[in-house]
Symmetry: C2
Subunit: 319 residues, 2 copies
């Protein structure tokens, strides 16, 4: 059995490569390294069953040999407007990865009659009116905002995936991924976990905007990969939320990170800014994932952070 | 001055070709005839300044010579699931016309540093919570419904157009077109005006679903084309609604059409069906069009229908 993973050098793509290799699959990784990092795949180089094609999914995809599964995970995904990897700075690449990339990935799946999985996102829910969000919620997205390049690309990709399923009978699935953290994430991702970890490891006070009582929920990457793996193995066609529904306040995150890193510099409070890159509150309703996949997160935030800190130390070249 | 019009053989595209020729422009029409009809352009064949390229906008666009304006109007646009021209039966072509077609049209505009206009639609508002809809409303669209192939393609196209404006500095505009009727419309479009006109001209009773007190608003094509022409001539970049805000009940439409066609067969009432192809109620707020373009509709429904009936008679081969 052989699987193609686009975005293989990305945070989630690299974990998926590893997981499928561990399950005995041959894995073909594909990436153009616009936001993916070759270092994320360095440990897989030379491993039996693993091969790699450097390619931009916005161009026609050809993969020699039979494929049984195609996972389309290629896309810029960081909302950070200050990072060169953030999709606000890669608007047209982001739209193309969602439209042309999904079209070409579906095409190669169709040629092979392979199971196809689209990496969608909680961002398709936009600025939601309901909490938590279940899969029947249609979302609230501004189609012309600078942020829309990611949200609308993924909504389009979902619509195209369903059209291939309905019209061509392709065996497709859609995972809506919520905030995830863990080793190999972009440390300049711009969200609260990497921001706090960097400040804590540099022994700076953690910056909390507002009173810190706003909440976030984060899923540890191993939990997420388990959910995605189960969804690929299922024959579910409708979208499934995968994420951690447990919310914590920003202040609790900050205190926990200072404790786990032994950061003595405490916390500073700043006035809340409009337009901060950290996205609005979202929380997955995972009823469908529980029912269809028997899945729920196993790793709590403290354990997840303990596993993530060594990676941040290494990236920051701290011992 | 030279203008490229994609979807030139369509209902609106053919009227735009005529309008720009009448204004003294050279016009290059482009169409693949999937839903466009060569008959819509027959009267322009051989007219000075008019040329035509048979081409699918989902493939790379090359047009020899300088272009000053690019109007992207190519897409299936009928919601009728019973028509081979309806986008429910052309889901992948519809998604491609919105994504690849817009990408290629923007590309040819960029090469020429031309003014670009995207034909968007009131469908991006989906099933709206507010009436009437102004341009700041984000819409409510189900990304995975069969109908979403049109709605999400157009939302994606808007996002891509704004990205070209913001990132490449292209002079773009977006028109959100509401329900329109007039000569050269698809007579199997599936909406209430063509349905009633066909029944009336065949001397059948007009079928009204429910009590007929639900409302619709329709814009006569000449009014619409005037609004689009003014928007092209402006340098407005944000979306502008163009449509007729005057609502009538379905029952009033039916009575008026029977009167104008001299149909003696009256009206029959049927139970309202779920999933009828006639779209839900939408009504444009045209405050921006009035302010920016000095535009509002001039032709009332009775006059518009009088001008439309001879076309339907001709299409139905009735004298």
């Amino acid at each position: 059995m052989r699987v193609l993973i686009t975005g293989a050098a990305g945070f989630l793509g690299s974990h998926l490569c590893e997981r499928f290799l561990n399950e005995g699959y041959e894995v073909v990784g594909m990436d153009n390294f616009v936001t993916g990092n070759p270092q994320n795949l360095a440990h897989l180089a030379g491993r039996e069953g693993f091969s790699f094609i450097r390619h931009d999914v916005s161009d026609f995809i050809f993969v020699p040999g039979k494929l049984d599964i195609v996972l389309h995970f290629a896309s810029p995904a960081s909302p950070n407007p200050l990072s060169p990897f953030g999709y606000p700075n890669l608007p047209i690449q982001t739209l193309k990865a969602g439209a042309l990339g999904t079209h070409h990935s579906l095409g190669v799946a169709r040629v092979n009659n392979a199971r196809f999985l689209l990496a969608s996102t909680s961002e398709i829910y936009g600025d939601p009116e309901v909490h938590p969000q279940d899969e029947s919620y249609w979302g609230r997205v501004n189609p012309i905002s600078p942020r829309s390049v990611y949200d609308e690309a993924k909504r389009f990709a979902e619509s195209l995936t369903m059209a291939y399923h309905r019209f061509h009978g392709l065996n497709t699935g859609i995972v809506r991924i919520f905030n995830t953290y863990g080793p190999r994430m972009h440390i300049d991702d711009g969200r609260v976990v990497p921001n706090f970890l960097k400040q804590a490891l540099y022994r700076q006070p953690l910056t909390v905007y507002g009173d810190g009582l706003q909440t976030r929920s984060f899923c540890y990457v191993d939990d997420l990969i388990e959910g995605i793996y189960r969804l690929v193995m299922s024959d579910e066609h409708d979208p499934v939320n995968i994420g951690n529904p447990i919310e914590s306040t920003i202040l609790d995150f900050a205190r926990l990170i200072n404790k786990l890193t032994g950061n003595p510099a405490d916390i500073v409070f700043r006035e809340r800014q409009r337009g901060e890159s950290d996205p609005q509150r979202r929380r997955p309703d995972i009823t469908r994932a529980r029912r269809i996949l028997g899945w729920e997160p196993q790793i709590d935030i403290e354990e997840g952070l303990r596993r993530t800190i060594p990676y941040f130390k290494e990236k920051l070249a701290l011992s």
